[in-house]
Amino acid sequence: MARYIFKRLIGMMIVIFIVLTIAFIIVRLAPGDPAALMLGPDASAEDAAALRQQLGLDRPIMVQYLSFVGNALQGNLGESLFFNQPVTQVLAGRAEPTIFLSLFSLLIALVIATPIGIYAAYRRGSFLDQAAITTAMLAASIPSFWTGLMLQRYLATDLGWFPVSGYGGPDTGFLERMRYLLLPSIVLGIVNSALILRFTRASMLDILGEDYIRTARSKGMGERRVVLRHALKNAAIPIITVVGLTFALLVSGAVVTERVFNIPGMGNLVVSAVLRRDYPVIQGALIVVASLYVLINLLTDLLYLVVDKRVKY
């Protein structure tokens, strides 16, 4: 187990190293002078030269690469061109809403999807099963911006149950800030519940046909115990996988929802950074999100170990 984790950590480091390299290359791959590119067409030659020096672009490429990787490993991802702040600070400032938005969405998705998925599998072919599958398909196929706009319009603007958009001002308290995340979380929760529901149902269906489920019934226990104790634990691994993936996607991909609800999260930040050609921020976001993916992956694999003693690494 310890050996396995050690091996995985080494693997993680390799992946992050590759990501760093890619992030480094991307900026250099852009045609023309990166400094001029970053500054835009209106910049003067002196400005470009100054920026080149600031970014170290006048040094040999290997030196640049080594210092970039060295800095990144020490947590220094450079300075944002737009904010004139360290990238890490810019990212950290935007991390809170994104992380909580992802967590709440995942929670809502789980609360909706797992009970319905389990029930649909148990009553396979029933009206409720069919209704659940159809609704899930619908929920997954409607673009999240549309769901977002509709809910925003009816639940926030018309009914006033939720704040319409934003994330409060500088002196808004934590709980108040979280209130701003409720409606967007519901939107993302609904969208993401579709996939989790389908996985839960499929996985439960598989397991409910197993011989040991019949054994469990032959012991004289009630159906609830059969399903929730004997079947669900076995169905958990595929569910954990999809939940982990969903979380990773949420963190990196809540862009549209953050836009619709005007939440100053990472998604919004990256979009603006792209528009502003703020390369250090783009680089930094790429590195952070990739690292998060790898980390979530590791955590999911470790969870398998906890659930299923047959899993050997």
């Binding site: 197993e210 011989d211 040991y212 019949r214 054994t215 469990a216 019934r217 032959s218 012991k219 004289g220 226990m221 009630g222 004997h230 634990k233 076995n234 659930v307 299923d308 003693k309 047959r310």
Partner: protein, 333 residues
């Protein structure tokens, strides 16, 4: 002398499949006496497993008992018809006084719970013991079924045990609440011959010690000869012959039973004698002939066999459903 532990009469089971209703059990009647082993034999698809699931009240969702009775004598002497017993009542019997062992030792146990947990759960469901007493009782059971180093096995997961060991665990699980009726659906079919012999020995010994009655399902006549007191022969969802094991082997009267006995190697059969498999196949459930279901494959069939046939008594509990029973003794046996 008390009456039978289990008395199944004219049991019918139907399945709904793709909008159609098919009858899997047409007419199943057999009797199991206390402390005895009744072997239920028949070719694949004849309805042996369906019969056992009907008794347990565990038919698949698309199946249902359509007629007949399953009279079970409870440990307290009261006789109940299991086909009409409410699920709540059935649940109390299931596992505690009627237990079942299934065929597939590799997949019967839940892979995510320890052996101790799974056997202990049976006690948890039926027998109010504290955790420590429960663990002790489970350990006793593992020792009883001759699992080596039983104490160290309690916390093992099923994948850490061999097939034979798992089937022993399954037996321990089935017997932990002292059932009076054990249904064993091909408990040794998936095991190799040596292990099979060990498991059969074990079951025989436990039956003697614990005094339960066993409904032993198999399609292996060799196993029947070893374990059974009585035999019920099943064909296409109906019992065609029931008799004491000696009678059945000495005077098999139904042409199908003869065929079954002829198609397997028997001790005492002279070397070189050809084994004759029964020609033809079992008719599909949706195309059963109106009369005797075996008639299309039977050399003795004539017009009479187009009429429905029911079990009738030949004497001494030997019952047969046939218009043209074979009467001569079998040689070599």
């Amino acid at each position: 002398m008390t009456g039978p532990v289990l008395d199944v009469s004219n049991l019918q089971v139907t399945f709904r499949a793709r909008g159609r209703s098919v009858t899997a059990l047409r007419d199943v009647s057999f009797t199991l006496h206390p402390g005895k082993t009744l072997a239920l034999v028949g070719e694949s698809g004849s309805g042996k497993s369906v019969s056992s699931l009907a008794i347990m009240g565990l038919l698949p969702k698309n199946g249902a008992v359509a007629g007949g009775e399953i009279r079970y004598r409870r440990p307290d002497g009261k006789v109940s018809d299991l086909t009409t017993l409410p699920e709540r009542e059935m649940r109390k019997l299931r596992g505690s006084s009627i237990a079942m062992i299934f065929q597939e030792p590799m997949s019967l146990l839940n892979p995510l719970f320890t052996i101790g947990d799974q056997i202990g759960e049976m006690l948890l469901l039926h027998d109010p013991l504290d955790a420590q007493a429960r663990r002790k009782r489970v350990l006793e059971m593992l020792e009883l079924v001759e699992i080596p180093a039983a104490a160290s096995r309690l916390d093992n997961y099923p994948h850490e045990l061999s097939g034979g060991m798992r089937q022993r665990v399954m037996i321990a699980l089935a017997l932990v609440c002292n059932p009076t009726l054990l249904i064993a659906d091909e408990p040794t079919t998936a095991l190799d011959v040596t292990i099979q012999a060990q498991i059969l020995d074990l079951m025989r010994r436990l039956q003697k010690e614990m005094g339960m009655s066993i409904l032993f399902i198999t399609h292996d006549m060799g196993v029947v000869a070893e374990v059974a007191d009585d035999v019920a022969v099943m064909y296409a969802g109906a019992i065609v012959e029931q008799a004491a094991v000696d009678t059945l082997f000495a005077r098999p009267s139904h042409p199908y039973t003869r065929g079954l006995l002829g198609s397997i190697p028997m001790p005492g059969r002279p070397e070189g004698e050809r084994l004759v498999p029964i020609p033809g196949t079992v008719p599909p459930l949706h195309a059963m002939p109106p009369g005797c279901a075996f008639a299309p494959r039977c050399k003795r069939a004539d017009h009479a066999c187009e009429h429905p046939v029911t079990l009738s008594e030949l004497g001494q509990g030997h019952r047969i459903a046939c218009f043209h029973p074979v009467s001569q003794e079998v040689e070599h046996v």
